[in-house]
């Protein structure tokens, strides 16, 4: 079916469209313009916003429009890309060019496309193809899936963007192209010994089974507890703990013990409605402490098991944690599930992350169909969590590179991670693109119904995901640059002539691989060498006597004398202020006398002082304000009025030379 006139936009500026829907959202009449256009233009922008699915036919803001406005400015354009891609016109254009998304569409094909696919007159086609071409050129750099992939039929203006997008992409692209299977699946496949493979399978499944042991132990030892627990199912409580903890991981700072209790209390109350409230807390603590292995001071659980190796039974020990407590940056202690814990709960013990993700997507789709939106929310949150994980992995890698580039295997490790992250973003965005438009369609249909609230929440979460993916993409795009920069910077570190060992590669790593028994022998030496000499405290009898015989000190006398401050040369680079600035400031201060800081600053500006020099001027004056400071001839007192200055705030100061007369 050919495109109709209303489906093909005719408003060149996408920025204006955003401003247009902003006015609608603010309740202003978009037609009464500060947009500087005539009414014909306004109707063009209205139609364009409508074609993008941002506003309804009668000019009401739709969910997609709200979603665009809810995003930070940087991500709005990326969101517009998706809106255009999902619009009839965008879809038809991709179809016409035989590509999957707009990245593959050449902007210069607009006229040809409109002539073929619409029922517009040739002159309209020409006019509107200008709009489409402009849009695509503007949108291409913001495509969430990456840089354009089309081969231009003639030189394109966007050439710069293309050439600098990714230095390393070429090296990894063969993988991406040829292996549609997720990384890791093909790598560990067949084993050369089928006989041992069966044995390995048993071992692996056994080890998996063992990891559920702490949960069964809790339930099994229920009758031995001093509190009546018949009505509580401790296994169910355990799994609920996992469920809640995992769904909160990476959302904000995480879940504290108190938060978790709050979340679980309703379920506990339902298990035993007649029990006193304190009992529920007791049960909760019992289960959580059990999962943290509080009994053994949170060391790893250890389960012995037996493997058959070459016909001999060997007893082995499996150590694992299910939950951990970690300190969040704000000092809260939050709960996290370990990989083992997540797998035990998720029941996907033998799948890798990529597969798990595919499963998540399927779950989300089915939940949407059945209206089980609550769970969909959780699934979306877990997808978000994985994006955050990628981001953290990447930032850890870059942190390491910042310390020492030689430690990062860029070609194998980092590029693989970057490729995985790129793939993750691509997959997520593809899924979310479908979901979001589906949800938004339903949201528009459901307006006002109770289910819509849940749906809107899910949409918000997905919007958050989208923002996060764009951020991750930014990080992925910048990492090569950071790495190259560090490489350049660190190359100029002096080469060592003396044969010093590398503390990480030559000492720490081999030490980690030593058996514990042997490493213990090294402990005394390591402690001694790494620490400064500690003079032993000798007993001096007169001091001891006088101290023992001294009357009991009262509290306020115990205040310690402020010891000497620990001053030491710090290993810092060059000073903040260049010598030229210092001279200029000194010269200025020599010249003036009896002046207010505000007028001193304006004189300084007239002489073309930079921000650093201005700051130095203020600091010099402040330094002289301290009357213990004797190295300067300046005298400074407060002028008793606020400082009138665009860059600095505080009291105005009166400055004069010590010898000179105070005016």
């Amino acid at each position: 079916m050919p495109l109709t006139s209303s489906q093909v936009p005719q408003a060149d500026s996408l920025q204006r469209i955003i401003e247009f829907i902003e006015r609608i959202a603010a309740g202003l009449d978009p037609a009464r313009d500060e947009l500087g256009g005539s009414s014909r233009h306004d109707s063009n922008y209205m139609r364009a916003a409508e074609a993008l699915g941002l506003v309804s036919l009668d000019g009401e803001l739709l969910e997609a429009g709200r979603a665009v406005l809810a995003l930070p400015k940087a991500a709005r354009w990326a969101r517009l890309v998706l809106s255009f891609e999902a619009s009839p016109c965008g879809k038809a254009w991709c179809l016409h060019q035989g590509v999957e998304d707009l990245r593959g569409v050449d902007p210069s094909s607009a006229f040809e496309f409109l002539s073929d696919a619409s029922d517009l007159s040739p002159s309209s086609c020409r006019r509107r193809s200008q709009t489409l071409r402009r849009w695509l050129i503007d949108l291409h750099p913001h495509h969430p899936l990456g840089p354009p992939t089309f081969t231009p039929s003639r030189p394109v203006i966007q050439g710069v963007e293309e050439s600098q997008t990714d230095l390393f992409n070429n090296e990894v692209s063969p993988d991406e192209d040829e292996s549609p299977t997720p990384p890791g699946v093909g790598a560990k496949g067949e084993s050369p010994h089928p006989a041992t493979e069966a044995e390995q399978d048993v071992s692996r499944r056994l080890r998996t089974l063992l990891r559920t042991a702490p949960i069964h132990r809790l339930e099994g030892s229920k009758s031995q507890r001093s509190i009546p627990l018949e009505r509580y199912d401790l296994r169910s409580v355990s799994l609920r703990i996992f469920d809640t903890v995992i769904s909160y991981m990476g959302m904000g700072s995480g879940l504290t013990r108190a938060d978790l209790l709050r979340e679980l209390r309703p379920a506990l109350v339902q298990m035993d409605p007649k029990a006193p409230p304190a009992r529920h807390t007791e049960v909760f603590n019992l289960v959580l402490d059990g999962l943290l292995n509080e009994r053994e001071r949170r060391q790893a659980f250890s389960e012995a098991w037996t493997s058959i190796e070459e016909g001999v039974a060997v007893k082995r020990l499996l150590s694992f944690h299910l939950l951990r407590e970690e300190e969040a940056p704000d000092g809260d202690i939050v709960l996290r599930a370990t990989h083992e814990g997540i797998n035990v709960y998720a029941g996907m013990l033998d799948t890798d992350v990529e597969d798990a993700q595919a499963a998540e997507e399927a779950i989300l789709r089915s939940q949407l169909r059945r209206g089980r939106l609550q769970q969909a929310q959780g699934t979306a949150r877990r997808a978000l969590q994985r994006s955050i994980e990628y981001e953290q992995k990447l930032s850890l890698l870059l942190d390491t590179a910042r310390r020492d580039v030689t430690q990062v295997d860029w070609v194998h490790e980092a590029l693989k991670l970057l490729a995985e992250a790129r793939e993750h973003i691509r997959e997520r965005l593809e899924v979310e693109r479908e979901l979001v438009s589906d949800i938004e369609r339903r949201l528009d249909a459901l307006a006002g119904q109770p289910e819509a609230l849940q749906l809107a929440k899910l949409r918000d979460t997905l919007n958050l995901c989208f923002d996060r993916h764009i951020k991750l993409q930014g990080r992925v795009a910048r990492s090569n640059e950071v790495w190259l920069g560090e490489q350049e910077r660190q190359r100029f570190r002096p080469k060592v002539l003396t044969p010093l060992p590398d503390p990480e590669a030559d000492i720490l790593r081999p030490a980690l691989a030593l058996p514990m028994g042997l490493f213990c022998e090294a402990f005394d030496g390591i402690l001694r060498w790494h620490n400064a000499p500690h003079p032993p405290h000798l007993l001096y009898l007169p001091h001891l006597l006088s101290r023992l015989l001294a009357p009991r000190r009262r509290r306020h006398e115990e205040r310690e004398a402020p010891g000497e401050p620990e001053l030491d040369e710090q290993e810092l680079g060059e000073t903040l202020f260049p010598p030229a600035d210092r001279e200029a400031v000194a010269a200025l201060l020599d010249e003036v006398d009896g002046i207010e800081l505000s007028s001193l600053l304006s004189t300084a500006r007239e002489r073309g002082f930079g921000p650093l020099a201005l700051r130095l001027t203020v600091l010099t004056a402040l330094r002289a304000f301290d009357d213990r400071e004797e190295q300067t001839s300046l005298r400074v007192v407060s002028a008793g009025a606020p400082l009138d200055d665009p860059d600095f705030s505080g009291d105005d100061l009166h400055i004069w030379h010590q010898e000179g007369p105070a005016s």
């Binding site: 150590s319 060592v496 402990f523 400064a532 032993p536």
Partner: protein, 247 residues
């Protein structure tokens, strides 16, 4: 040599060593210390006597500079930080973790020989949580390479990295302090001990406590800890391989 007043020389050497042991003394603030340091550089007899006395005390002169003298302990020195002074009655696993943490702090601050020799660039600040994450990550890498669980009967033969992974990262006590038996508690303790020896300085409380390395720490690691631990770890590594091939 005849004019040399042995008693005066001995007293001066003693004073210099006392200043060297006082982590807070700096030549820039104590004129007498500054004088002794420059005397150590110019007066051969004084230097010989000081070094002989240090040898007798089980100490090494690691560095003479503007921040004074930096001393390090040899085996059996009375000034060495003893295991029992550091932590009483530690289990094998705790010793392993505490020892690895010392190595990890040094490796985080100075990952390569180059960064150890380069006294121009500032080191990154040391953050408790970052060091825990760093050590944990190294151990996880080793865990991924290792397919098999260790045998149950022989805890001493389990690799050191398992000791780290088996430990809880953090755990708050009833009064809101950190438990000293967790990794976070252990790293914070190690950093505090280093700071009390004048090697680091605390600059903030964020991320479990943040410390800045001082020049003395670089000297301590470069002149003493790195080479000595390297030799020892290599020796132990050889023994471990021997044990393995015998078994």
């Amino acid at each position: 040599m005849m004019d040399v007043d042995v008693a005066e020389l001995g007293e001066a050497a003693g004073k210099l060593i006392a200043y060297g042991l006082d982590t807070r003394a700096r030549p820039s603030r104590i004129p007498e210390y500054a004088e002794l340091v420059s005397r150590l550089r110019s007066d051969g007899a004084f230097r010989a006597l000081t070094e002989a006395t240090l040898t007798g005390l089980g100490l090494n002169l690691l560095h003479i500079g503007t921040r004074g003298v930096v001393l390090g302990c040899r085996e059996d020195s009375a000034f060495a930080l003893r295991t029992s002074d550091y932590r009483q009655s530690m289990s094998v696993e705790e010793r392993v973790c505490h020892g690895l943490i010392q190595l990890a702090i040094a490796a985080w601050a100075f990952p390569t020989a180059g960064s150890l020799a380069d006294s121009e660039t500032a080191t990154l600040p040391l953050r408790t949580h970052q060091i825990v994450t760093y050590l944990h990550k190294l151990c996880e890498e080793l865990q991924q390479e290792e397919a098999m669980d260790p045998e149950a009967a022989t805890p001493e033969l389990r690799e050191a990295w398992r000791g780290v992974l088996e430990r809880a990262q953090t755990r708050d006590t009833s009064d809101g302090r950190r438990s000293p038996s967790t990794l976070v508690g252990m790293v914070a303790y190690a950093l505090e001990t280093l700071a009390s020896g004048g090697l680091l300085r605390k600059i903030g409380e964020e991320e479990g406590g943040t410390w800045q390395t001082l020049t003395a720490y670089r000297i301590q690691i470069r002149e003493l800890a790195a080479t000595e631990s390297f030799e020892l770890i290599r020796r132990l590594g050889r023994r471990a391989r021997q044990n393995l091939s015998e078994a």
